[in-house]
Amino acid sequence: MSPSPLRNSAYAPAPGHRFNIGDRVRVKTMNPPGHRRTPYYIRGKEGVVERICGAFPNPEELAYGFDGLPEKILYRVRFLQHQVWPAYQGAMKDIIEIEIYEHWLEPA
């Protein structure tokens, strides 16, 4: 059984969002220096947009005292664990969900 339907719930307005719920996306493989909210383990992995959380000041700019504008769209992306970790020992359907900003995502 599916863990939960993909939720159509926006927590803050997300004007002009590029991806929709259910879209397949890939986290960009890039290694910019500095404060980044995209953990290394998820870079390069493919998942599905689970929900759109809204637009928020960019934390990668806020970290350095800038205003974080323009705001970035934040998504909740769902990944299959065994696709994230080649050595994953758990069930095939186990999942991990994580928040990814739009500028870290590309269509898969």
Binding site: M1, S9, F56, I95
Partner: protein, 230 residues
């Protein structure tokens, strides 16, 4: 001051006395954190005190404001998550609203989440949810108080994303093999709260009584509520 070890609970520990457990929420049972117990204050304590005094002197904060805030963290915030979930257990319409928008639902109970946006996730017979912040220690503080040291430990943060079933087992939580584990990395702007399954045998319980079996650990998803000893 903070332990970084994986001070995990012994199996079944979380079920002993939920009142005490919740009260102990922010305190590490093994490492006294009272700054006055161990000689003179350290550099960070002096800096913190100096900053407080400066802020007071400049009129940005009132004397006592920080102490009051710390008291809230100790005495109010740790109980709010359990109150919210107990309400969700007795009121399906509220639960639906909590799942749709956690922040708005909490506000209905007079619980103000301040800057936090909340995603509530529900355990079912098929799916078990567990929360982690792999990057630091993001945590729904206004619902659960300060995060416990194990939540901030490198051990928990690195392992629960990769081998959640093994980590849950160390907390005394054995899940059936066919249950899907859904790990939530709380890595950016959202905060997460697990709505556990309501145990059999709690039919007719008051919200107050239900909230007593909703320990912090059940709301992070590392344990499940039990009515042992109740």
């Amino acid at each position: 001051m903070k332990k970084t070890s994986f001070d995990i609970h012994a199996p079944g520990n979380a079920h002993h006395d939920h009142h005490d457990h919740v009260h102990d929420h922010d305190h590490d049972e093994h490492a006294p954190v009272n700054e006055h117990d161990n000689g003179p204050p350290n550099d960070y304590e002096i800096m913190s005190r100096a900053m407080q005094e400066l802020l007071e002197e400049k009129g940005y904060i009132k004397p006592g404001q920080i102490a009051k805030r710390m008291e809230e963290f100790d005495e109010q915030f740790p109980f709010r998550g359990a109150q919210v979930v107990a309400r969700a257990w007795v009121d399906p319409a509220f639960k639906a609203r909590l799942l749709a928008d956690g922040r708005a639902a909490c506000l209905e109970l007079g619980t103000i989440l301040e800057a936090e946006r909340l995603i509530a996730v529900e355990n079912t017979p098929d799916v078990h949810n567990v929360i982690v912040c792999t990057l630091c220690s993001c945590y729904p503080r206004s619902l659960l108080g300060m995060p416990p040291s194990w939540y901030k430990s490198r051990n928990y943060r690195s392992r629960v994303v990769f081998e959640p079933r093994a980590v849950l087992k160390e907390f005394g939580t054995a899940l059936a093999e066919d249950v899907t584990i859904r790990v939530h990395d709380s890595n950016a702007d959202m905060r997460y709260l697990v709505i556990p399954m309501r145990p059999h045998g709690t039919e007719g319980w008051s919200e107050e009584k239900l909230s007593q079996i909703l320990s912090r650990d059940t709301l992070v998803g590392v344990t499940v509520p039990s009515i042992t000893n109740h």
